[in-house]
Amino acid sequence: MSPFFFYLFAAILILASLAVILARNPLYSVLSLVVVIFSLASLFMLLEAFFVGMVLLLVYAGAVLVFFLFVVMCLNLNAQAFTSVQQSRFRWLGGLIGLTFLLELFWVVKGLGETQVMAASSVRGTIEVIGKILFTDYLLPFELTSFLLLIAVFGIVALAKGSLKIVGDVEEVQQRRENP
């Protein structure tokens, strides 16, 4: 547990997340988010949360961000559509909110006093331990999660088929309501 690795991955994490919000090209934003997820998984490994770190890599970097990339390339947005994005009217307000948040954070941390060091009796989040807890104490949330994913699949299919009329056709909806 060397402090060097913590500072290395923390620096990569902060720089990459800044790149996510500052990049003009959405492709670079998504690729920077991949770097964010990788360094986050490295920090999880430093915290000995092995299983969660691997799930983060597999699900996030492997599936979610590839899906992001797929959509970005599928939409085929021109660069002009994203240069105008940068000039938001309320940009200064967002910066102010972030700065306030950061200052508040430093103020809170300063009041904390002595930092808690890592406990000697280590909590090692291996697959065995996490799996045991997941299938005993957290069985109901786990099953509910599978139900949530099923509902998400239904929602995506409904959206993709275009069977949902999102805007317009008010008369049609009214007619259907009157004579079902």
């Binding site: 997340s17 988010l33 949360a49 969660v52 948040f101 909590v123 999660t145 959206l159």
Partner: protein, 100 residues
């Protein structure tokens, strides 16, 4: 020596970066990406608390957060694609059907 405060500070910095991203960007895609940064920040503090307090509950919550985020991203991207088909843009300002 790296303590709990270091991880919480890092998580807070990450969270404020995500907040700035959400409030300043007008592209819906970038707002979704900034949302992912917020989730990453909260995941980091969950795992840090789990490690320093000797409780596995934090890691399990992170597991569930990852699953819920996957569902959220799938639905969100489907909505973005539909929005692009309807409006031919993904600027959040163009969604003004509910504006009065």
């Amino acid at each position: 020596m790296i303590g709990l405060t270091h991880y919480l500070l890092l998580s807070g910095i990450l969270f404020s970066i995500g907040t700035v991203g959400i409030t300043t960007s007008r592209s819906v895609l970038k707002i979704l990406l900034s949302l992912e940064i917020l989730l990453a920040a909260s995941n980091l503090s969950f795992v840090a608390f789990s490690r320093f307090n000797g409780d596995y509950a934090g890691q399990l919550i992170v597991f569930f957060v990852i699953l819920v985020a996957a569902a959220e991203v799938a639905i969100g991207l489907a909505i973005i694609v539909l929005m692009y088909r309807r409006l031919a843009t993904i600027q959040a300002d163009e969604l003004k059907d509910l504006k009065w």
